[in-house]
Symmetry: D2
Subunit: 320 residues, 4 copies
Amino acid sequence: VTARVGVVGATGYAGSECVRWLLGHPEVEVEAVVSRRAGTRLGDAIPSLFGLTDLVIEEFDAARLARLDAVFLATPHGAAADLARALDASGAPLVIDLAADHRLDPGWTYGQPEWNAEAIRGARRIAAPGCFATAIEMAAAPLVRAKAVKGPLFVSAATGSTGSGASPSEATHHPERFANLRAYKVLSHQHVPEVKALLARVGGGAAPDLHFVPLSAPLDRGILATVFATVDEGLDVGALFAEAYRGKPLVRVRDGSPEVRHVRGTALADVAAFRDGSAAVGLCALDNLGKGAASQAVQCLNLRLGLPVETGLLAVPCTP
Amino acid sequence: VTARVGVVGATGYAGSECVRWLLGHPEVEVEAVVSRRAGTRLGDAIPSLFGLTDLVIEEFDAARLARLDAVFLATPHGAAADLARALDASGAPLVIDLAADHRLDPGWTYGQPEWNAEAIRGARRIAAPGCFATAIEMAAAPLVRAKAVKGPLFVSAATGSTGSGASPSEATHHPERFANLRAYKVLSHQHVPEVKALLARVGGGAAPDLHFVPLSAPLDRGILATVFATVDEGLDVGALFAEAYRGKPLVRVRDGSPEVRHVRGTALADVAAFRDGSAAVGLCALDNLGKGAASQAVQCLNLRLGLPVETGLLAVPCTP
Amino acid sequence: VTARVGVVGATGYAGSECVRWLLGHPEVEVEAVVSRRAGTRLGDAIPSLFGLTDLVIEEFDAARLARLDAVFLATPHGAAADLARALDASGAPLVIDLAADHRLDPGWTYGQPEWNAEAIRGARRIAAPGCFATAIEMAAAPLVRAKAVKGPLFVSAATGSTGSGASPSEATHHPERFANLRAYKVLSHQHVPEVKALLARVGGGAAPDLHFVPLSAPLDRGILATVFATVDEGLDVGALFAEAYRGKPLVRVRDGSPEVRHVRGTALADVAAFRDGSAAVGLCALDNLGKGAASQAVQCLNLRLGLPVETGLLAVPCTP
Amino acid sequence: VTARVGVVGATGYAGSECVRWLLGHPEVEVEAVVSRRAGTRLGDAIPSLFGLTDLVIEEFDAARLARLDAVFLATPHGAAADLARALDASGAPLVIDLAADHRLDPGWTYGQPEWNAEAIRGARRIAAPGCFATAIEMAAAPLVRAKAVKGPLFVSAATGSTGSGASPSEATHHPERFANLRAYKVLSHQHVPEVKALLARVGGGAAPDLHFVPLSAPLDRGILATVFATVDEGLDVGALFAEAYRGKPLVRVRDGSPEVRHVRGTALADVAAFRDGSAAVGLCALDNLGKGAASQAVQCLNLRLGLPVETGLLAVPCTP
C-alpha cells in the first residue's frame, strides 16, 4: 500500500463513491471516513456497502486526518473551506477537494487530469472539477487547444439526479423528475467560470465566450454534454480529438455518439467530434459521480503518488 | 351545472387531480380551491394547469364551503378530521374525504362505487378508499362475494411514487427510487383494515385473513395488485369477474394481464383473473391518483347527484 | 357534428393518438380507421382504448375515404405519397398528412397552425410538421420574425422514445434506452430543411443557418428543444415571445423553463426565452405525439373547418 | 492464472456479463469469445467494453474450446443442447450452461452455489439456474429446509427488461415498458419446475406446491421476489435466514427489505424474512444478469476450481 487516506463527507453521494473507488484501489488503504453520522458503521449508512467494509464513521478530527497521506473533502459546497483551513493548520500533506470552494483559488491546483496533469503531480492542494465542468471541458478543450474556435461556444448538457446530492428536494422529487426534461439556471450556471479558466489555460489566451444551458434529465447518473463551435470549414475535428486524448487511458474517442450507459458506474469519459461546414460539435458522456467527481479525484491522487493515472479505476463496466 | 364544489388541499397530488377531473366535468363548477398557498393562482401553484384556469387559492372557510353542494377534502392523513368537524358545524350538505381519517368511521360511508353504490347514493359523508385498498378490493371482491376463498388471501401490490404525496422525502428521492424495487411495511400496511371491512361486507360474513406486502416501484403513477387465493379446482374465475363487473363502465375485465400504462391518467380499473388447480389470482391495474383517489371521489359525487357514475370520467387515454 | 373523418395508420403511435383526440372532439365523428390489422377491433389493437370505442379497423379504400370530410394519413414516412395520390384520384376534399412525405412539396400547405394559419384555412392538402421541427420552430420563430438573429442557430433537442414509432428496434430496446442519453444524426437530421423553410417564410428572407443535434432521452413522450442564437445586447426576448404567441390558446409562454411533464399527453406547447449579453436562448417543451404530431394535425382540421383552433384540444392535463 | 476459459454467446446479455466478470477475475484468462459476430472485436460489438479488451469474436469450434479449462454457454434457450453435445464429443473438461436446456437433466448438476455446493465442486457439466428461479430459491429455501412451510407457496417476482435478452421485442419496446407494470405467464412460468426440484432436494421430501406470478417492471436490471408461506405462529424466520446464509459471502441477510439498487451490477443476493401470525414472507433482491445469471455461473467455476466462491466477484458496488 502506497497511501493511507481519509474521506470527509463519506455518506454524501460524491463521498461514498470516493470510498467505493478507494476500497477497490490496490495501492490505497482507507483509514478514516468522516460524516455527520459518526459512530455508525459505513455499511449501515450506505446500504449498498453493507457487509463489504468494516469502516465506522468518525467525527472530523483535523490532527488525525493530517497524519494520513491524503484527505478527500466531499462535503457540500461552502463547507469545505473551513475544513481545509483546519487541515492546513494541522499540516496535512495532501488535500483533494471535490466541492466547488477552491476551484478558482490561486492557492489550489485545478484537478483535471487530462488537461492539467503536470501541475497536479506537484500539488498539495487539489480542487477537483465539477461534473458539468468536466464534461464540457472534455468536449471543448481539443478545439480550444488547436485555436480552432471562432466566436462563442454554445453548450447544452443534460444531467442525472444524483448531481443534486443525497438530500431530497423538489428538483429531485421522483414524481417531478420522472418522465421529465427541463432546463434550469439558463445562461447562469455557476460552473462556467472554472470551465473558462481551464480553457483559457489550454488555449494559451483569453477564455472563449461560453453560453451554457443545463438540463435535468430523468435518470440517476450520467451527463451528456454537447458543445457547439464555429470553426474553419475543412477542419478535421476527429483528428484533433484523437490527438488530444492519445495515451489517456480513461478517455475513449468514439466514432458515433458517446452514450451515458457505456460509462455508467465507471471512471471513463467517452468523447466524439463532428463537423458540418463551419459548425463543429464536441460531445462527452461521463458518470457525474465517477469521472465527474469521485474517480477523477482518485485520478489526481494517482498522479500525485506517481502511479499510472488509471490505477484502481479500470473495473470492467456492465455490458447492457 | 348540477353542483358547485370546493376542493380543500388543492395543491397536493390527490387534490390537484380532483380539480383536474372536476374542471372537465360537464355538471360541476369548481367554486373554491383551498390550500396553504392562499392568494396564489392555482395555475402558478400547479404548473401543468397554468393558463387553463383562473381559480385563485383561498383560505379554509367552513361557512363559505358549507354553502357549496359538495366539498372534497384532500389533505394529508390526520388533518381531515378537524376540517370535517368544522364543515359539520357549518351544515355542509356533502363532504367527500380522500384521506384515511374516516374510512372505518361508522358515521361515514365507504366510497367504493363498484361495491358500495347503494350506500353512497344516500350518503352525506363519504370516505373515499385508499389507492392500495381500491386495487386490492377490485381484485379480491369477486372471489369473496362468491364465497370462493378458502384460507387467507396473500397480496402483493406495487405502486408509483405519487402515492407518497407531493412532499420530497427519502423514499421518493429520485436517485433512490430510480431503477429500484423494494418492499416496505411488510405485513403491516395501514390500508389492510379497510380492505377487510369491505370484503367482510361483500362476502356477507367474517373478513378473510389478508396478508399484504406493498412494493415501491420505479414509476410515478399506477398500481398493480396481485391477489393470491386458494379456491375450488374447476372454479371459473373469469366468469366471476365478468359477472361482478358487468355494467360497471369504469372497470374493464381483460383477458391478459392488466397493465398500468393502459389506465395511466384515467378513471379506469383494469382487472383479470386466472386459476391453475386450486390457486387463483386476481389482478388489478389502476392509476393511484385516478381510480385510486381523485376520480373515485368524483364517482362518489356522481352517484350522490344521481348522475351516471362515469360522468366526466371517460376522457380517452393516451394510446402508447 | 361538423366533420366525418377517417384515420389511416390508426394503430401506429401518431395514428392512434389522432384517433384519441378525434374521439374526444365535439365537432368530429370518426367514421373509419385503417391499418394493416383490418378486421380487428380498434380497442383490441390499442389496449388503452379497449372498451371505449366500437370502431373496427378497415382496409384502405380510397373511394370510401374520399367521401369523408377529412382523411388523416399517419403511416410510416414513404408510404403516404401513394395513398395521397389515390385519395387525390378519388377526389378527397381534405387530406392531412402526418408523415414527412409532403412537407416540402409545393402542392401541399405546411401545417404549422401558429405560424401558417392563413394558408391552412384555405388548404385541401396539409402536411403536418415533424415533432422535432415543431419544437424548434416554436422556440426559434419569434426571434427570426423579429430579424433579431445574427449568424447561425445552434439547436439541441432531446426526445422520448415514442418518436421512433411502434415497431421495436435497437434504439428503442428498453435496456439500451433506459438510463441512457445519446446523440444521433449529429448535424444531419432530416427535419432541418422543413424548419429552415418555415423560418425563411416567417423571417421574410433567406433561411438562417441552423445546426441541429438530436438526443435520445430515457422517457417515452416529450421533446425539449434548446435554440441558441446571437442577438443584439439589450434585446427583450421575453417580450418577443409574449407578442408572438399572444392569442394562441395552445401555446404557453412560461417565466421559467418549460417542462415536458407539464405538457405530457396534451396539445400544448410551452415556450420561454432567455438572454445574457448577446446570447439568446429559446426553449420549447411539447409532447411529440401531441403538439408534435396528432393534436397539431387536429389543429389544422379546426382551422380548415373554421372552428376555434383549440376545439377538442384543451383537456385538463395530469397535475403531477 | 488457474483457468483458461471460453464464453459462447458472448454478445448476448448473459454472455457479455460473463465476460465482464471473467475479465476482472484474478485466476481466469478469457481465451475465446464466440458469437454470430465472428471477426468483430468484442469492444466494437459491446460498446461499454470498447478500449478495455483486445478479444476478437470467433466462430464456435468445439475442438478448440474443449482444450480450455472451462466453457460457458450463454446462448438462447434451445441452442445450448447441440453445442453441449459437440463439446462432449470433443472431451471438454467443464461446461457451464447458463441457458435453461439442462437444468432438469440428470446428467447435469444444478449450479446453485448456496444450496448445491457439494455437487458443483465435483461436477463437469453444470446448469446454472434461471434468474427468477434463483431469486425465488434464495427467498424460499431457508423455510423449506426447516420444514416450516404448510401448504403452498405463493410467489410474486418483478423483473427488469434485460431478462428478456438483447433482441428487441414488443415486451421490451421502450414505450411499452416505460412507466408500466404488468403480469405475464400468470401461474404458468417455465422456471417453476427447476425451483420445485431444488426445494424438494433442500427439504428432503416432496416439492412444495408453488404458484408464481411474474411481473414486468420498468427498470433494466434486477429482480425482487416475494414468497408467501404459511408457517407456525412463533417461528423465528429471521433466525432461519441468518443460519441458512451464515458464511455465504455473496448473500446478505438484511433487516429491512432488500432493494434492487443495492445489488445492481453485483454478484450479491440480498434477502430478508418477515412473519405476522402464521403468514411468513421471504424476500430476495438480486441482479438478474449477476447473481441471476453470469456471476452465479462464475461462482460455480470458483467452486469447481477449489477457489473461494466469491473470488473475483466482490467488486464494490455503486453507492447511490
